[in-house]
Symmetry: C2
Subunit: 352 residues, 2 copies
Amino acid sequence: MKRQFGCVAAALLLGGCAHQHHGGVGGDHFGVREVGSFHIGGRQVTLSGLPEKEIVFTAGAAPFRVNPNGDFEVEQMYVQYVKLHEPYRKGRYPLLMWHGGGLSGVTWETKPDGKPGWQHYFLKAGHDVYVSDAVERGRASWARYPEIFKTEPFFRTKKEAWELFRLGPEGSYSTNPAARRAYPEGTLFPIEAFDQFGKQGVPRWATNDGATQAAYDQYVQKVCPCVIMVHSQGGNFTFNAALKAPGLVKAVIAIEPSGAPDVGKVDVSPLKGVPHLFVWGDYLDRFPLWTRITPNIDRYEQALRRQGTDVTRIDLPKTGVRGNSHMLMMDRNSDDIAKMIADWMVAKGLTR
Amino acid sequence: MKRQFGCVAAALLLGGCAHQHHGGVGGDHFGVREVGSFHIGGRQVTLSGLPEKEIVFTAGAAPFRVNPNGDFEVEQMYVQYVKLHEPYRKGRYPLLMWHGGGLSGVTWETKPDGKPGWQHYFLKAGHDVYVSDAVERGRASWARYPEIFKTEPFFRTKKEAWELFRLGPEGSYSTNPAARRAYPEGTLFPIEAFDQFGKQGVPRWATNDGATQAAYDQYVQKVCPCVIMVHSQGGNFTFNAALKAPGLVKAVIAIEPSGAPDVGKVDVSPLKGVPHLFVWGDYLDRFPLWTRITPNIDRYEQALRRQGTDVTRIDLPKTGVRGNSHMLMMDRNSDDIAKMIADWMVAKGLTR
């Protein structure tokens, strides 16, 4: 009866009950107003003069002639959103989650170990959450090369992911899952789910940055004001998008960004009033690419600090949390890290 | 006060209010227990002996050497689900939505004209909805060819989509949107959104049917008992999946299936107790591919009927509804068609 009474009271006071005993983090569900998606950006391209191809659909069947010439939509990106029903919505702005290189929006969804990911966490925390696939990957689709995309794609090997994402030292990857060795000090990545994580990888191109930035910029114009949470390669796209639309990007949450504008060439003053959070995992000193990349990001962070931008930096090892990989949102303590971020959002006035 | 009183009464009678004034079709929101995703199927492949490639990330930058050899996860598929909070859930089984060829799960999401799609409709109708991307497309990702995928992909032109999906007669497509001519009798596809629809297209391979069927079969084993709603090329995968797991597939809703098993070679008796719904749009006699394909599907439908399977067929033109395209779920009357399907599901005992 207690729950019913609470519900009745809520009904009389608020004209509704759902948010009374189910709303917010820890609730067993959340009210959703809309699940939807759209593609944004891109252009129509016409191919002509290419030879017809014969395609055999099934062995033995007569070949099927395909004419590759014609019009195509290319260089668009894909965005999916979950909008919360009002009493469940605590966030002042939509939370946009931008993925890293060779990956898609799946980064933010259910973790490779089957546990809820950050998309689910921040929905339960009361934010409308937008998860996107950048140009060239996932549901954004990709275009014929070299006629439209200028180069051929490349595919990240599992060994590169194992080392680059800092699960174990160089040479510790093995084709045999049982023989893979994480850092001796341990990793918080669920390595038993590494093959499952491998299924999330998508091919990448080296020559689509312009189209990718253009689509992201249109995305910001369409759905912001917003907060952007970004991972890895998405960092540079996010910082540039924020510099172009500082009035629309209300905060930037950068999870191990792998790139940032050159502060020698870019004026960061438009971001004076935009709070930034940087979150870093462990073992950044163990892999050459990271020791080479991080100084650039740190220079960007310092430039923001120098001009008085509200910048928070969480170096997890310095807080006593050891073993986080580059895929923080998939690590065993991902909910703890999400809570640090959610608390920061509350502290910065991004919630109601 | 009326709404509040209804809520109070519901609280006392049912111990909750949400489903009282928000549940089901027409409610302004629905309670969600989980939004999640997973990849299923596929295998690890090792490539070796391929030459290194030099990739130039940005014009003028030093080339970056990439070794394409190593381990990859390939031939998996992607599944995303929205599970409803109990009082909102009316469906007895999860509703799985399988897309057609050269497309992804986006088919079922928000329509190209920006209006809610069938994913949203059937969630509001009280079904847990699963939307997937089959092997080779969207978030399922794709693999290097010809080393892993045996052939090169092909890309559907907008002209082919315009004609094959029956928006207008052969020759009525133009590169210039304003010059495109729909069937003189009219089309229910929102042709002003055709370029937006074009952004949903993904490349396709002719040689991945085996891997695609294998992943779909594993998907059925993982999440069913279920109801499968399928479009176009997905038809053959669905019928075969159902024949292999008749105890798990509780009903099949085939939206313009473009393929079906050869009834001369396949025993359909396992599906005696599995209700089937076939839904067909307009202008099927106007494009040669359809006049060639549909007799095979009709033979399959007849074989099911002959053995006493509960089969319902909706030929929309015969019901007086003219102008539906192959993309029924995107046409202007998509909600009316969804209601016919939802009513059929109720009639077949697939809801509570």
